[in-house]
Symmetry: C2
Subunit: 200 residues, 2 copies
């Protein structure tokens, strides 16, 4: 690496934006959606509330922007040469994201009280729609390599890969660890080869 | 069937108990844990609040009793002769339960606000502990039949079977249908045969 490959959009405006988004998500997780207010976010971010209201007119606007920013962080779907390693890489990416700040945010957003708010339902929808093209790419590469039948449903396959990760996060509360990544990759590969995700 | 195999514990006391439990769970789902009160449950059940307080001294006592009663309904883990049909029967049972009144109750209980209450955390724990002996039985039978290696982790296998069902309920909100039951059964069987759930 000989230098920066891309200049970062910096400056005070970006720093304020980052601080506000970070405070928004922290406040969401700490207080829950209902109790969260722009005032509390402003206090946490160390800015005046008018600084926030100048850019985002409501709490929901702010939350939508902060979550959009968070989910911009792409989970890599690199071509690693085989379906097994592609699945492992993607599962690792999801674990990395959910083991970080996004995990508690996802838990809070998906909780029943927050899910009753239309804006939150839309964010949730968006979160899962961003996965669709990734699933399609991973499976299309495996079909091209001759690893899977052309009739494999990419969304069913990737849902199966990630479901045990979400199950641990929301339901069983067991650790998101390397052993889990190995297990979901091997299990999903075996199931896919057996034709479990054949489109009807 | 020539008659009742077992006399039902009936009478007014049982009917009141059933009405109160039903109202408790309905109130939990409708109002959420925080807003739920014994008064509201009493109104919904058509009983005086002292009728409830005579048996359950707090809201949490009542909720714990109602949820315990709900989860008493056992998901069948019948011996159907093969691992594939045992998995299908168990997945069908879980879908049957979660597609009924228990689904919204589970969603509400597992939501972040409710999960902060120690009693609710204990119920959640209990819900998943009841699954452990069932997982062990299903896998032990498959090992006896020579369908699986003796070193198969029963909890990993059954978590994998049920995770896509919970994923649909909590995350993707897609339907809990027959196609899902078929998919999880076939996929889990294929993964188990491939040794994906080998104990380390």
């Amino acid at each position: 690496m000989t230098g920066k490959t891309r200049s970062r959009p910096g400056g005070r405006s970006t720093r304020v934006r980052e601080a506000v988004f970070e405070a928004t998500l922290a406040e969401l997780v700490a207080s829950g959606y209902t109790a969260m207010t722009v005032e509390r976010v402003a206090t946490r971010a160390g800015v005046h509330k008018t600084t926030i209201y100048r850019r985002w007119t409501t709490k929901d606007d702010l939350l939508v922007a902060a979550v959009r920013d968070l989910v911009q962080m792409p989970v890599p779907a690199l071509d690693t040469g085989t379906l097994e390693t592609d699945l492992r890489a993607y599962a690792s990416g999801i674990v990395f994201v959910l083991a970080g700040p996004a995990g508690p945010v996802a838990r809070t957003l998906l909780s029943s009280d927050a899910a009753r708010v239309p804006e939150i339902a839309r964010i949730k929808q968006m979160l899962f729609e961003t996965r669709r093209p990734i699933s399609t790419r991973i499976v299309a590469r495996a079909v091209e390599r001759g690893e899977l039948d052309a009739g494999t449903d990419p969304h069913a396959l990737i849902d199966f890969l990630v479901a045990p990760i979400y199950f641990r996060l929301f339901v069983s509360e067991e650790p998101l660890d390397e052993a889990l990544i190995t297990q979901v990759s091997i299990a999903t590969l075996a199931a896919a080869r057996q034709g479990a995700f054949a489109e009807d």
